[in-house]
């Protein structure tokens, strides 16, 4: 059972010593991690390093959602899984890996497909949500559920040599719908299975998602005033670019002043494509 504590125990003090001596973090920061819960949706290329570093770094409670099983073609980038966990549900495989490093981390695997019927009740149990998924419908679902539940959403994505990172619905900033009120035409959307991806690319974005989540639960983002969008390309110079992002939009359908989306909708219909569509896109974009 996950219970909040008033102080770190001796084992935690030994384990997290290098973080405890950080002046801007310290035992207070570590205790905040210990008492926080983070839901990672997707234990694939983004989720793998995110889960590893969140679990190893001292987050008290981790939820991991993935309905998929480990396949040999995942292992080049989903480094939390192993040859011996092939065929195992990815959320369970990820839990085993966290426990090998830090058995005291409370991990709950959810071997389910997230949808409008189950997302909100799940998200309400966590402090921060990581979007480490691979399709547009789930991205809108997670966004709306996080707005309705009042949770920050750390969103990462990767394809080919490119990656993107944004924190939504945090510190008065925009939500995913503020930036993308209309979903992209389905024929312009490619996932990593179809478009390919260099394994380290989602690795870089996933580990940065862990960093953003740690900063949020440790209270390191409290003075943050502007909101940014990080663009990454592994083969380009500069590799990283930070973009100043618009604020929350007054007329946003879900987080605006007069929201019309007050409960979760049918996201497959809204996006014209679902979470499990495996057919190749018409155009590789």
């Amino acid at each position: 059972l996950f219970e909040k504590q008033n102080q770190l125990n001796n084992e935690e003090i030994r384990r997290f010593g290098r973080q405890l001596i950080l002046p801007e973090f310290g035992p207070e920061g570590q205790l905040k991690l210990r008492n926080s819960s983070i839901l990672v949706v997707g234990a694939g290329g983004l989720g793998a390093p995110a889960i590893l570093y969140l679990g190893a770094g001292g987050i008290g409670k981790l939820g991991i959602v993935d309905h998929d099983d480990v396949d040999i073609s995942n292992l080049h980038r989903q480094v939390i899984h192993k040859e011996r966990t092939q065929g195992m549900n990815k959320a369970v495989s990820a839990m085993l890996a966290v426990h090998e490093i830090h058995p005291q981390c409370h991990v709950t695997p959810y071997p389910i497909l997230l949808d409008s019927s189950n997302a909100l009740s799940l998200i309400k149990q966590y402090d921060v949500v990581l979007d480490a998924t691979d399709n547009v419908a789930t991205r809108y679902l997670l966004n709306d559920a996080c707005v309705l539940a009042g949770k920050p959403l750390v969103s990462g994505s990767a394809l080919r040599m490119d990656g993107q990172l944004t924190v939504y619905n945090h510190n008065g900033g925009p939500c995913y719908r503020c930036i993308h009120p209309v979903p992209p035409p389905p024929e312009t959307v490619t996932n990593c299975s179809d478009g390919g991806v260099l394994g380290v690319i989602p690795g870089v974005i996933g580990i940065l998602q862990a960093l953003e989540a740690i900063k949020i639960v440790a209270g390191l983002t409290e003075n943050q005033t502007s909101h940014s969008f990080l663009i990454f390309n592994g083969c380009y110079s500069p590799m990283f670019r930070s973009i100043k992002l618009r604020g929350k939009k007054e007329n946003c359908l879900v987080c605006g002043e007069n929201p019309t989306i007050t409960e979760l909708i049918d996201y497959v219909e809204f996006c014209g494509s679902g979470a499990t569509d495996k057919e190749a896109s018409l155009f590789v974009l």
Partner: protein, 105 residues
């Protein structure tokens, strides 16, 4: 000055529509071709790209006289919503990025 040089970059997969070339230097008239009394706006750049740099799949870039959903436009590293969007008046050496939002993971 009668021409502007704009540094255009396509990213996140958009570059595949442009022979996989990410960076382009585009020279544009400083006045809008739609209304010669006005300075060139971002809208004019988008139409210029559509009409002069694309032969096919134009709907993967432009839809209803603006960029299609799923493309973010960045003006000198700032979200175009903070800079008047289509009405933004181009300045010489501006850097405009068209980036396709990624959904993979």
């Amino acid at each position: 000055m009668s021409d502007l040089t704009i540094n255009v970059e396509f990213s996140g997969g958009m570059e595949l529509l442009f022979n996989n070339v990410r960076q382009h230097k585009i020279t544009l008239p400083a006045k809008s071709p739609l209304d010669n009394s006005k300075p060139a706006q971002l809208r004019d750049l988008i139409f210029y790209i559509r009409d002069n740099m694309m032969t096919e799949k134009k709907d993967l870039f432009v839809e209803k006289d603006t960029v299609r959903p799923g493309i973010l436009v960045l003006i000198n590293n700032v979200d175009w919503e903070l800079c008047d969007e289509l009405d933004y008046e181009l300045e010489d050496k501006d850097e405009i990025v068209f980036i396709s939002t990624l959904h993979g993971g």
